[in-house]
Amino acid sequence: MQTHFHMIRNYLRLGVLMLLLAAFAAPLAAQSVRPPGNAVNLDDGREEGPSNTLGDVSDTQLWDNFRGGDPADFLAAAPEGQLMTTTGQQWRLIREQYIRKYLGWLPLVVIGLLAVFYLIRGPMKISAGRSGKTLPRFTLSARVAHWFMAAVFIILGVTGMIILLGRPLIGPYLGLEVNSVLSSASLQGHNLFGPVFIFALIWLFIKFVRGNFFQMVDLKWIFKLGGFFGGHVSSRQFNFGEKSWFWMVILGGILVSVTGVIMLFPGLVDDIRWLQLSTILHALGAVVLIAVAFGHIYVGSIGMEGSIDSMLKGEVDENWAKEHHDLWYEEVTGKSAKEETL
């Protein structure tokens, strides 16, 4: 009862406000909008908006009632009957002040770190050199699933970054019109390829889940920092880094897929805050995946000799296998990796 009364009261106040605005606006529309010569702008420290709309009644109280919600709790339920909520404003601030301002730097920071690492450490060579003998590592369908995901990931990554960062990065330099065109194109492409990503994710999971569960041997890899700073680390078909990347892609992929579907079909949720939360989590998950993907690309290409063969040819050099995946080498060949290497 009280809630209804509260709601009716707010609507009445809104009605009064609208009438007052209309009353003020009608003569203004017919007259010159130029202020009188002796007019001055007084800075009373208040937020912009109609002031003194209710005479002696407090404006602050009126706007507080309109705004509603609890500014301290992002996930607080919107009070019934409130006309405005603070979460929209908070969402906008998070998006503008944190996501757009800082998140875009993450991939660049990763690229920078990789460049420094490459300059210091250089590529990880096969210490025993190439043997000329190869081992089959990935089937053709697994390689196709991998490159398919890579292609879709790149399309979504580029279009997504334009959608997210176009206004602050493209607008000021190439103009708002260019940004508008690129954003429109990116949004359409991104929305179209979203479901394709879900398909790619499922395919990738089916093809690579076997061998990607964590094992005790992965602890050694962690303690030796993957051998990136020297020393030999044992691993099976996939090492800890590869496994971590796999699960990041799967779990991060599920996150961006679910949040993406919510944004594509907003009717699925009945509270706007799910949409606001989805945009933030979507951006966060996607940018982290993009940043880590650069590390994956680095190790899979210039960072480690022989690793790209596994995805281009499906085969790897035996010495590469002994050095980086010795337990897998022993499993598939039945030979000892140590004796062979020594």
Binding site: S141, I155, G189, L192, F193
Partner: protein
């Protein structure tokens, strides 16, 4: 005349004319080569083999089906998806009606158009990444294969980008790529869209005349 008017008007008509004329030139040229006279007594029907050869190759042989599943699904997905989105997309029907044919037919709803586009994209990307992932396929692929794949992809992608219809520049980019694709088509392996009937038929007729299953 705006750039959009140019690519949707004169340039489109020139590209379409080249597509039809050069395509016919190639097809008629292939047919005119004819077949070497076969003096051996026929043990079966060459015509029946021609038809059978075309139809039977729509289905993979049992022993290869599993091994070539990705290729088969990718191929069907791409070709059927592309056909559906080109000829049943509302934008395309409207364009063909206004610019070329003067009549229209029922279009797919938007969701159907998007679904067809997604299936076509999946198929095309799968086919191309298979091309680069398989050492043998990589070896036998030349520039023409890659240009054909990429040009088709760019035509489709630019079409996807222009779907909002909010900017003429995006539509013009799509139409420019369509025109380039139409001009490139008859001089490339993209012609397989038409020559496939002749090549399958030729093999089928040869086997059919010998009384063998194509």
């Amino acid at each position: 005349m705006s750039f959009l008017d140019l690519v949707e008007g004169p340039m489109f008509y020139i590209a379409a004319t080249i597509f039809v004329a050069a395509g016919l030139w190639r097809l008629i040229g292939i047919i005119r080569i004819g077949r070497k006279p076969d003096i051996s007594p026929a043990k079966g029907s060459a015509t029946g083999g021609f038809i059978k050869g075309n139809l039977r190759h729509f289905f993979p042989r049992g022993i290869f089906a599993r091994r070539t599943m990705v290729h088969i699904l990718g191929g069907y997905g791409f070709h059927i998806g592309l056909f559906v989105l080109v000829f049943f997309g509302a934008y395309h029907i409207e364009f063909l009606d206004q610019r070329l044919l003067g009549f229209s037919w029922p279009a797919l709803p938007r969701w159907g158009f998007l679904l067809a586009a997604e299936i076509a994209f999946i198929g095309l990307i799968v086919l191309w990444v298979r091309r680069i992932s398989d050492p043998v396929m990589r070896l036998i692929s030349d520039k023409d294969d890659h240009i054909g794949s990429w040009l088709t992809f760019l035509v489709m992608l630019s079409g996807a980008f222009a779907m909002e219809q909010a900017h003429d520049s995006l539509r013009a980019t799509h139409m420019l790529l369509v025109n380039i694709w139409l001009i490139y088509f008859p001089f490339s392996r993209l012609m397989h869209a038409f020559t496939v009937v002749l090549s399958r038929g030729n093999s089928g007729a040869t086997y059919g005349r010998k009384g063998m299953n194509p």
